[in-house]
Structures are given as structure tokens and as C-alpha cells.
């Protein structure tokens, strides 16, 4: 489990992140969302014991970050994929992975098996000795992810894991991340890709130099936005908007094309009444659906609010 308590990092007069407090349970995929410069990478680096917090505390499996005696243990438990793959371009994929296996103290036989399996799965076994400098960005990113996992770490920190991948490769990586979760790994992802976060993250934290909001992606939208239903009709009578706005349970109504968009208190209870009322008015209803707010809507709203 990762526990952060008022974690703060300043660089000179710049506060990269302040009072970052949260708990990331084991076996969870946790997303850190936020614009550039929001402090996501700084937070990840602090948790990897690469940089020291200015104040506050954090623990990973009861090992406290910022303490020299814990740093080696923590680093051994974490697999890090940085923003840039940072591979040794003149070396082959095999050697890139092999050296990291050695750095993490993985026994030779296990290392060889793991590299063979990984490179075969990535379709790179036959090209294992080619310098990775000649590989595509996506290919490099995959090797970098494999490198982060070479020692089978409990915690996996991924900084923009799908940033440079094509949709097919990104899908493979997402599926792989979900597989890691099923294996019991805890994954912390920094991402701008809100759709991706929505798809794979159990919990997300919106960060803008501090935590703006924490929750599961769907729960965040529900807490922020009133529930909206959209009713599609063949033809909307001119007086309908005024009449429906006068109903108690309708807080807001508007017309978008041939759709009537309503904010209601409780769609499960209020929708049947709205439909009955419309039928009584002789309005032909074609479709009724609930409008869902994406994580992007949540992100934009919260970040705008955070900007003040």
C-alpha cells in the first residue's frame, strides 16, 4: 500500500506539489491526471526515491521514502517507466533488458526466461540483437515497459505509458496494464489520456500542484454534474420548453435540435413521470437516454475551478 501524507516538493520558489495526501490500495490502478507542470512526475519521482520531499511523508509497504536506508528497498519494489523510454540506443533489446535485470539482481536463468518470453510476446525475439535506436517509438516504449517489469515488481509506476503509441499498440499496453492488476500488482499511471484513465483506472486523482479531487472516474462526474436526460422527439412543440420547466422535478430544460435535454433530481424516479407527461401532451417520444459526463468534462471543469 502506498500512503502519502502532505507530501510537498518545492524547487526554489516553485511549488511543484504541495500537501499531496492519498492512499493507494494494493492491486489497484491509480491514475494521476493533470496538465503539464502539475507535479505528477515530481510526485512519481519522490515515490521512487529519486528526489527528496521538501516536507510531508510517504510510505510504500511501511518503508518510508526520503530515508536512505529505505530507498534501496523501495527501488527494488518499483518498476519505473519514465516519460522518455531512455533505452541504450546502441545496444539490442536483449541487452537493454538483461542489464536492468542485473541491476535489479534477477538471477540469470530467470532473467533469460523472462526476456525471451517478453520479447517473443512483443514480436521482437528475432530482432533482439539489433540496436534499439533503429526501432519505432512504439517499439521502444514497449521495450521500456518490459524493462520496468523485468524484476516482477509489486509496484509499477508508468509515466505516460501510451503517449507515443499508435492505437493498436496503446490497446496492447492498456490490456497489459489490466493484466498486471489481475496479477495483484499496484499500478500508478501519470496520464493526459483521459479516455485511457477512464477505461483502466480504478481511482484517479486530479492534480494541479495539489490534489484537486480524488475518486473513481464515474463517481467524480456524478458528484460534479447534475444527472441529465435527453429525450429525442419527432417534433418539439414551441410551448413545450416553458411547460416542462414548470414541473417540480425538472431543474433545468433546454432544446438541442430535436432533443429535449433535462436536468432532473433522480432519473430513476422522475423519468417515468416525464414520459407520462409528454405522452399526455401528445408529443411522440422516440428515444430516452441519460447523458453521461466524461472524465474529460470532469477534468476541464475541475482544472478550470482550480485555476480560479
Amino acid at each position: 500500500m502506498i500512503i502519502c501524507d502532505r507530501l510537498t516538493k518545492t524547487f526554489g520558489s516553485i511549488k511543484a506539489i504541495q500537501d499531496f495526501s492519498l492512499e493507494i490500495p494494493d492491486g489497484c490502478i491509480f491514475g494521476l491526471l493533470g496538465p503539464n507542470g502539475a507535479g505528477k512526475t515530481t510526485t512519481m519521482r519522490m515515490l521512487c526515491c529519486l528526489i527528496q520531499p521538501t516536507s510531508g511523508e510517504a510510505q510504500i509497504d511501511s518503508y518510508e521514502i526520503g530515508k536512505k536506508e529505505s530507498a534501496q528497498k523501495i527501488r527494488g519494489m518499483i518498476g519505473l517507466l519514465p516519460e522518455v523510454p531512455g533505452l541504450y540506443e546502441t545496444l539490442g533489446a536483449y541487452k537493454n533488458l538483461d542489464y536492468y535485470g542485473q541491476f535489479y539482481g534477477v538471477p540469470k536463468q530467470r532473467r533469460e526466461e523472462s526476456i525471451r518470453t517478453t520479447l517473443t510476446n512483443l514480436g521482437l525475439w528475432d530482432r533482439r540483437n539489433e540496436p534499439v535506436g533503429g526501432f519505432s517509438k512504439g517499439m521502444k516504449q514497449k521495450i521500456a515497459i518490459a524493462r520496468a517489469l523485468i524484476h516482477d515488481p509489486k509496484y509499477i509506476f508508468l509515466d505516460e505509458p501510451t503517449a507515443s503509441l499508435d492505437p493498436a499498440a496503446a490497446k496492447i499496453v492498456r490490456e497489459y496494464i489490466l493484466e498486471l492488476k489481475n496479477r495483484g500488482n499496484t499500478v500508478l499511471i501519470n496520464t493526459h489520456n483521459l479516455t485511457e484513465a477512464e477505461r483502466i483506472c480504478d481511482q484517479v486523482a486530479l492534480v494541479k500542484n495539489r490534489i484537486v479531487k480524488v475518486g473513481n472516474p464515474k463517481g467524480l462526474a456524478r458528484g460534479l454534474f447534475a444527472r441529465t436526460i435527453s429525450i429525442t422527439m419527432q417534433k418539439i412543440p414551441p410551448s413545450l420548453l416553458k411547460d416542462i420547466s414548470s414541473l417540480d422535478f425538472v431543474s433545468q430544460a433546454q432544446i438541442k435540435g430535436n432533443q429535449l435535454v433535462l436536468n432532473v433530481r433522480d432519473p430513476e424516479v422522475d423519468n417515468p413521470q416525464v414520459i407520462s407527461w409528454l405522452i399526455q401532451q401528445g408529443v411522440p417520444v422516440q428515444f430516452v437516454s441519460e447523458e453521461e459526463h466524461s472524465l474529460e468534462d470532469v477534468y476541464m471543469k475541475l482544472i478550470e475551478e482550480a485555476d480560479g
Partner: protein, 348 residues
């Protein structure tokens, strides 16, 4: 370390230059210096001692004098001695005529028609006499044939040690300069390639990281220096043996230099460069600063070239010890100031 060496192996041009530089400086250059020397400088070793003045030649009939008495272990002062065999005597202010002298000391005297062996002569005039195995100072030899045990060094004997010292300095300078490019690149290069962050995130300790970087620069540099040294020594012997009659190299000074001084100088340079590399954010800045790092070795070289320092075995051990202590200090200093956060986040 193996990773860095593997990366290094891929750089064919760098390998080429690392092998070529010591060979040019340590093999070709000395040959260019020594070949004309052995061709031009005369071989003869003239017999001479300080202050010897020779006048005339011994007449052909110069033979061992007749003696009728042997004197041993006696001291004579202001005495004229004729027709005697003198062994282990000390003669001062004497005139010695037709004597045989062995293992004696003669001062401020004159010797005529005598035979001398294994004796010491100080301020003595030797007329019509023969001598061998002598040791002497301020001698006037008139029509005598005197052989001294201490001969004046030949020109080649005088020049060779100086030239050997100069060439030896090349084998100290090479391992000190050769690793600067690799070592200065070691950390800042990885930072610029963005491969440093995942490396720093591994459980590898600061000491292990530094040691890996140090030895990956040290091994190729020393390896290439040793190769050039072996080649240089062999070829110099090939050139010099016909002239001096026996292989001169490697002597104790050279062996101590290549075993003690060159590695400690190389390590000092590597350590300082790695230290610089961990402190700067730009490869060019690191390499520029790396130029200063060989200064202690340059100072040593200037001392040798100016004749101020002569590289004797003791001097080699002293300098190697000094460099070794500096190496140790530099390693602990580099380890103490190695800061992952600064390396990763500082770009100015």
C-alpha cells in the same frame, strides 16, 4: 560497467582512436626519437676520470719493474721508495720509482716506471707506468697506460636516461588523458540521452554506480596503454640492443611506472572526470572541464622534461602513492556529493 563497455564496443571510431593514440605516442614517437640517436651518437666509452690529464704515450719497452722487497700494510709519508712491491699501503707525498703497487692509496705523489693495480690515486703524477683497475682524481699521466674502473659515461649513456624519462612520461600522460572523453560523458551523457532516470531508479547503490562508470573508462584506457607499452618496449629494445649490447627495457623504473604510476594517474583522471560529469548538465561543459583534470600529470611531465624531477624508482613509488591517496580521496568525495536529485533535476 559491462553495459558501458558494451556500449563502448559499438563505437568503432572511439575504439580506433583509443588504440591509435597510445600507439602513435608510445611507439611511433619514441622510435622516431631513438632511431636517429643510435645512428648518429658515437658508441665509444672513453676511459677517463675527473681531472685526468694525459701526456704522451707509454714507450713500447714499458715492462713490470724488478723488485727486491715486499711491503704490506704500511703507511709512508714524504718518502722515496724504489724497487719495492707495495700491497695495501697508504702513500702521501712520496716519490715512487720502479715499484709494483697493489690495493694501495696514493696521494699528492709521483709514480715513475711502476706498475699499478686496483689502487686509488689522488693528485698523482704518473710517468712511464702502467695501471689497471684504478680509481682516481686529478691525475697527470705522462707516457703511461692507465685503466680506470670508473669510466666516464658515453654520450649515449648520458642521453638515454633522459630520453627514457621523456618516453616514460608518455606512458603516464596517455592513461591520464585517454579516459577523459569517456569518463566525462559517463553520467551527463546518460542524462542527456534520458537513460539516467531508469538507471537511478534501480536499487544500485551510489558506490556501485560510480564504480561501474569509473572502471568502464579505466579498463579500455589502461588496456590500450599496456598494449602500446609492450609494443614500445619491445621495439625500443630491438632498436637499442645492437647499439648498447643488451636489452635496456623494461627496467625497474619502467615496470614500477606501468604497474603503479600509470594506473593511479589513469584512475585519478577518471575519478575527477566522473565527478565533473555528475555535476554538470552538458556534455561539452564536462569535456571542457575534463581538460583541466590532467593538470597534476602535466605538472609532473613538465618537472621531468625540465630536469627538475628525475623518475627514479623511489620517485615513482612516491608519486604513485600520492596519486593513490588522491584517488581514494576523490572516490569518497565523488560518492559523498553524488546526489540523484541534483543529477536528475538540475539543468543549469
Amino acid at each position: 560497467m559491462r553495459k558501458d563497455l558494451d556500449e563502448f564496443k559499438k563505437q568503432k571510431l572511439v575504439i580506433g582512436s583509443i588504440i591509435a593514440m597510445p600507439i602513435v605516442l608510445g611507439v611511433v614517437l619514441p622510435l622516431v626519437m631513438f632511431v636517429p640517436l643510435v645512428t648518429i651518437v658515437p658508441l665509444e666509452r672513453p676511459w677517463d676520470v675527473d681531472g685526468l690529464l694525459q701526456i704522451g704515450n707509454l714507450p713500447d719497452d714499458g715492462s713490470v719493474p724488478w723488485t727486491n722487497q715486499t711491503l704490506e700494510n704500511v703507511t709512508f709519508n714524504q718518502t722515496v721508495i724504489k724497487n719495492k712491491t707495495l700491497k695495501n699501503v697508504i702513500l702521501t707525498n712520496c716519490i715512487i720509482v720502479s715499484c709494483v703497487l697493489e690495493n694501495s692509496t696514493i696521494r699528492d705523489s709521483s709514480v715513475q716506471n711502476s706498475s699499478l693495480s686496483s689502487s686509488s690515486l689522488i693528485n698523482v703524477t704518473v710517468i712511464h707506468s702502467k695501471g689497471s683497475g684504478l680509481d682516481g682524481r686529478s691525475i697527470l699521466a705522462v707516457s703511461s697506460d692507465l685503466m680506470f674502473t670508473k669510466t666516464k659515461p658515453s654520450e649515449i649513456d648520458q642521453v638515454l636516461p633522459l630520453m627514457f624519462n621523456m618516453v616514460l612520461m608518455i606512458f603516464i600522460i596517455i592513461p591520464a588523458t585517454l579516459p577523459t572523453i569517456i569518463a566525462t560523458y559517463s553520467i551527463v551523457g546518460e542524462k542527456n540521452n534520458r537513460s539516467l532516470e531508469p538507471l537511478l531508479a534501480t536499487p544500485t547503490t551510489d558506490g556501485e554506480l560510480l564504480a561501474g562508470k569509473i572502471f568502464s573508462a579505466f579498463i579500455p584506457s589502461m588496456g590500450s596503454t599496456l598494449l602500446a607499452f609492450s609494443l614500445g618496449v619491445t621495439l625500443l629494445d630491438v632498436v637499442l640492443v645492437p647499439k648498447v649490447g643488451y636489452p635496456l627495457l623494461p627496467n625497474l623504473t619502467w615496470i614500477l611506472s606501468i604497474v603503479l604510476l600509470a594506473p593511479t594517474a589513469c584512475l585519478m583522471s577518471v575519478l575527477a572526470c566522473v565527478l565533473v560529469s555528475s555535476k554538470v548538465s552538458d556534455v561539452r561543459a564536462a569535456q571542457q572541464l575534463g581538460g583541466f583534470i590532467v593538470m597534476p600529470v602535466v605538472v609532473l611531465m613538465l618537472g621531468v622534461l625540465s630536469g627538475f624531477i628525475f623518475l627514479s624508482p623511489i620517485m615513482i613509488v612516491v608519486f604513485a602513492g600520492l596519486f593513490g591517496c588522491l584517488d581514494l580521496g576523490l572516490f569518497y568525495f565523488a560518492k559523498a556529493i553524488f546526489n540523484r536529485e541534483n543529477i536528475l533535476t538540475k539543468w543549469t
